[in-house]
Every structure is written in C-alpha cells, then in structure tokens.
C-alpha cells in the first residue's frame, strides 16, 4: 500500500498548472432563492479538493452543476480548458466525470460485477452479442475483479456476491471503484464517509487516496472536518453561495476553517 507514503509526496498544485475542471461565475436561482451566487472552483491534476461549507452555502448546488444534475443559469464550466455544457448526469459521465452520490446509486440485489457495469454492460462479440444480446459476464467479472484489486479492495469473497450482503464500507468501496473505473477525468464523492463507522470510514479514505494516486483528481464533499483535514490537498470553503477562500490543511487549522465557514473569521486570500 503506497498510499500512506503519498501523503508526504503530496502534489503541489501551482498556479502554472492548468485546472482539469474549472467553474467560472456559475449562477443558479430558484425563483427568489439564490442557490449559487457566483460559483467558482478549480480542480488541479492529481489532487484531492475538499469542498466544505455550512448547510445552505451552496456546495451541493455547485457540485450538482459540475456533475450535470442541475443546469446553471449562467457562468461556464471548463473541462481540460474546453467549455462544456451538461444537460444531464449522463452528459457529465460521458465527458469523464464520475459521481458517487450520497445515496450510493447501487442496486442492492445485483452482484458486485453487475453493479460496476450497471448501465454500461458489455456484450459478447459476434452474433451472440448482436442478435442474442448476450452479456460478456466473464469479461465483466474479470474486469470488475481487476478494478477492485487495483484499488486495494482485496478481492471480496466473491465478485458474484449481492451488494446488499456487503457492509456499508464495502458498498461504498463498490461505488468508488465504479467511479474510478469509468471516470477518465474527475471523480466527485458526495459525503462518502457519512454513514460509516470509524474503521470503515478510514478504509474509504484510503480508497480515495488510492484513486488520487492512480492519477484521477477527486472532489470530496464532506462535513467531516477530521476526514477533510486528513486527506485533502486543498480545501475549498463555500459560504453564502460563493467561494470564501481556498486553504490547505497545512496553512490552517480545523477551527480556523470552521470559523471561515461560519463567517466568524475573515477569509484569507485563496492558495493556488
């Protein structure tokens, strides 16, 4: 497990580097309610960017705009420097942005391999696939095992095991593995540790580091300050519908972050 050491060899995002994903001046209003006043966000290659904010700070709306779940009224989203428009979560997925929703979006009755390939099943080559629509189960299973073990989720008892027979952390592992397997640009995780115990939460954190170390930048939305400070490279603080600032776990303490989040302290100028 190389992930622990990678915390020290932390990538240093600098202003010179081009962001993988960038939001500029996103606005989203629902009638008189402003969900995002000015949504700005930059995600750099190889980093874990945590997004924190009080309830109603607009972090969920911001993330939803990035993963295609809502369409912003104005502003722009750039992926690898190119302007993109997402009309549905499927658009964002096709562009390489995978999201692990808080609700997990796994089908409990289906097995691990089925869930990994849910909605993107692969058919057998030739007539079996084209005429009889036969799934290439063998290939999907071996791919599923490869993805799971690449992420250090030591092969579970059986890749053909129903997801509902797994623990919360294991399920989260399946969801993260799916995102990592299919996300080519960005993985977005919404409260991945919220429903988990301490031990399982830590394992999921490890999983997130592994995803980052494989080269996929991660956006992590979390209320859990210790978790955020443990794994984030940078911390985006959202407040009152806009970005208050960006800090790092080294530049600020947890209580300072909370103070900025709640408006008790002046936000410092953003890093990188």
């Amino acid at each position: 497990m190389s992930a622990q050491s990678s915390v020290e060899s932390d990538p240093q995002p600098t202003a010179v580097r081009e962001p993988v994903l960038q939001a500029k001046g996103l606005v989203k209003r629902y009638g008189p309610v402003t969900a995002i006043a000015s949504g700005d966000l930059e995600l750099y290659p190889g980093e874990i960017l945590a997004v924190i904010g009080d309830n109603g700070a607009g972090k969920t709306s911001l993330i939803k705009a990035l993963c295609g779940a809502i369409v912003p009224d104005s502003g722009e989203i750039l992926l690898d420097g190119r302007r993109v428009q997402f009309r549905s979560p499927m658009d964002a997925r096709l562009a390489g942005i995978e999201t692990v929703y808080q609700s997990l979006a796994v089908a409990p009755g289906l097995d691990i391999a089925d869930n990994l390939f849910l909605g993107r099943e692969e058919r057998k080559p030739g007539l079996l696939g084209s005429v009889f629509r036969m799934l290439d189960k063998k290939h999907m299973r071996s791919e599923a095992e490869r993805h799971m073990s690449e992420l250090g989720i030591a092969t579970l008892q059986n890749i053909g095991q129903a997801v509902e027979s797994l623990s919360g952390g294991q399920r989260q592992g399946v969801a993260v593995a799916r995102a990592a397997a299919f996300g080519s640009k960005v993985v977005i995780l919404d409260e991945p540790t919220a429903a988990l115990g301490v031990k399982e939460g830590n394992r999921v954190l490890q999983l997130i580091r592994d995803v980052r170390d494989r080269g996929l930048p991660v956006i992590l939305i979390s209320h859990n300050m210790p978790h955020v400070f443990e794994i984030a490279d940078r911390i985006h603080i959202q407040r009152l519908g806009r970005r208050a600032t960006v800090i790092t776990p080294r530049s600020h303490s947890m209580s300072e972050a909370v103070a900025i989040m709640t408006g008790a302290a002046e936000p410092p100028p953003p890093v990188a």
Partner: protein, 343 residues
C-alpha cells in the same frame, strides 16, 4: 462456498469475521438461492400426495397437472416480470381473456384466417400491456391503480365484443385450439401449449439473466432512484416490461383457447390472483428486484399439485383455496424474513 463466512481481512479489505448461527445460515442460503425454498415445498408436496393417493404419481395424472397449470404459469411469467420491477398487474386475466375473445371473434365473425387472427390478437395484447406501461410511466400512477382500472375496462369491453357469448373451439380454425392438442412421451400426454409455455420460460430465463435488459429490470425494481442515477432509463425499462407482459398474456390467451377448446368471456376472474399466487410461491418478492422466472414455474406447479393432490385425497374443493391461501401467507412471511438478512 455460499459466502456464509467471511474470511480474515488482508490488505485493506473490508472483511470482518463473525460467527453465524444455524438459523442465519439457512437465511443466507435461502437469500443466495431463492429457488431452494419453493423447490423444497414442491418436492415435499409431491412426496406427501403420492403417499396419500397411489394415483398421484401416475403418468396420466402428472400430465393432467401440467396441462392444468400451463395457462396460469404463462400468465404468471408476465406477472413475474412486472413484480420484479416492484409493480403488480391486476389486469392479467382481463388481457388474456379479452385477447382470446378478440382472436376467436375475428376468426369466426370476420372470417380472418386463424394464423392472422392469432397474430392480430398478439398485437392487441401488446397494445393493452403498453397502455398499462404508458399509464405507469407517463402519468406516474401506481401500477396497482392503473391495472385495477384497466382490469375493469378490458373486462367491460370483453363483454361488449363477445356479447357474453362463448365461441366454440369447433367453430374456430384448428390452429387456434392447436395448443390443446397433445403428443405422447412415454406414458405422458403433453399439450403443445405446455411446450410453448416452457419455451417462454426458457426465453425469459435467458433474457433476465444474460442481457443488459434483464439486469436493468432487476435494478429498476430494486431501487429505481439508484438505477436512474446509474444511467438506466427506467421509464423505458418499465414500459418494455408491461408491453412484453401484454404479449405473454396474449400467447397465454392462445393456450387458454386450446385448454378450454373454446373462447369464453366468463373465465379469467381468478387468473389475476392465481398468477400472483404462483409468483409469490415461487419466491419472487412483491417488493421488486428479487426473484426468478423458474421460481414462478415452480410456484405454479405447487398450486397445481396442491389442488390436484387435495382432490385426489378427497378433500372438499372449498378447502383447496384455504390451503393455497395459507401457503401464500407463509411464503410472504418467509420472504420478509429472508430480506432481513444481515450483511
């Protein structure tokens, strides 16, 4: 072997160890192999009734049981698909009977050739199923309400078109009652309708287990929101399921005409609940996402074996319903228990 025990953690695996009580073990086995319970009931029932009556295991009687369950099994197949999506179809009997009336009246009244009448009947069955599907997906009405409504509508149209008159099989082209003809295998007499029914089960056994459509049917019934977030067009899945079920019911109508050697507008009321009974006894969960079509076949056989065996044993017909009802309650209770399986 069935994942009863979890291995010790290696690396960052999430595995943990825990001891498992024998009862939990049974629960896990049934959970992993939902066909086992219904099969055990069927085997026990066959053993018990063969002790009660020497005639039960005779080739003639077993052939009769198969012929008797063929219609219900076919309708229950369509019902299974819908229940797998966490829906329910109360209009199954109405669609089947109305389809048979339409087919028979086209052939006898309008002089449409038999094969064409069947084909048009299948298309009308598809249309009735699709109507259910559209109401469920477009108007977002609960399947229970939608099919309760269409049940009434189809039965009413059925009475109008048939003028409440039965069409005799002798008046129809031979192909329309061909499903009731038999052929011999050893001492057994098997109807062509039974063969069609078994072929349908084979097709959907394959489709549910080996195609993306099948996976999407399970995922939609399991957790529709999760399926949608995974990129599955759940409305399309639901519409396809109701439509395909309509076709299956219409094929069931053809088998029904063979079985009764007529097309009668006055049968079928009990088919709704009988088909649901077969599905539930077969281990498919009414909550969706869980179950197997083969279970439904076993469930239909359980109903057939019970009715037949109780009759051979001299039990009054009125008590048959009692026994079946008891079985259903036990089956649902066991399903609930299995669903509470611990991770």
């Amino acid at each position: 072997m069935l994942g009863l025990r979890v291995t010790t953690a290696t690396k960052s695996s999430f595995a943990e160890q825990r001891t498992v009580s024998p009862l939990e073990r049974v629960q896990h086995v049934l959970h992993a192999n939902p066909i086992l319970g219904p099969l055990a009931v069927l085997v026990l029932a066959v053993l018990a009734f063969s002790l009660v009556s020497g005639r039960f295991l005779s080739a003639a009687n077993l052939g009769l049981v198969l012929a008797q369950v063929t219609v219900i099994a076919t309708l229950a197949l369509g019902q299974t698909l819908i229940i797998l999506t966490a829906g329910i179809d109360l209009s199954v009997g109405a669609i089947a009977v109305f389809s048979s009336i339409l087919m028979a009246n086209m052939a006898t009244g309008l002089g449409v050739p038999g094969a064409l009448a069947l084909l048009i009947g299948f298309v009308l069955g598809i249309a009735m199923g699709a109507l259910n599907g559209l109401l469920v997906t477009r108007l977002k009405l609960p399947p229970f309400i939608v099919t309760l409504g269409t049940l009434s509508i189809f039965f009413s149209l059925n009475s109008v078109i048939s003028r409440s008159e039965t069409v005799r099989g002798a008046d129809m082209p031979a192909i329309m009652t061909w499903t009731g003809d038999t052929f011999g295998v050893g001492g057994f007499r098997i109807t062509y309708g039974s063969i069609i029914m078994l072929l349908l089960f084979a097709v959907f056994f394959y489709a549910l287990g080996n195609t993306a459509w099948g996976k999407h049917v399970y995922a939609t019934g399991d957790d529709i929101e999760a399926a949608r977030l995974a990129g599955i067009r759940t409305d399309r899945v639901l519409l396809s399921v109701y439509t395909v079920a309509g076709l299956i019911y219409a094929i069931g109508a053809w088998i029904l005409m063979g079985r009764l050697a007529s097309a009668s507008p006055n049968v079928g009321v009990e088919y709704n609940l009988d088909s649901i009974t077969a599905v539930v006894l077969g281990g498919t969960s009414l909550f969706g996402g869980r179950g197997l079509v083969l279970g439904t076949l076993v469930g239909a056989l359980i109903v057939g074996v019970f009715r037949n065996g109780l009759q051979l044993g001299g039990v009054d017909v009125v008590w048959q319903g009692f026994a079946i009802g008891l079985l259903v309650l036990v089956a649902v209770a066991i399903d609930q228990w299995i669903r509470k399986v611990r991770a």
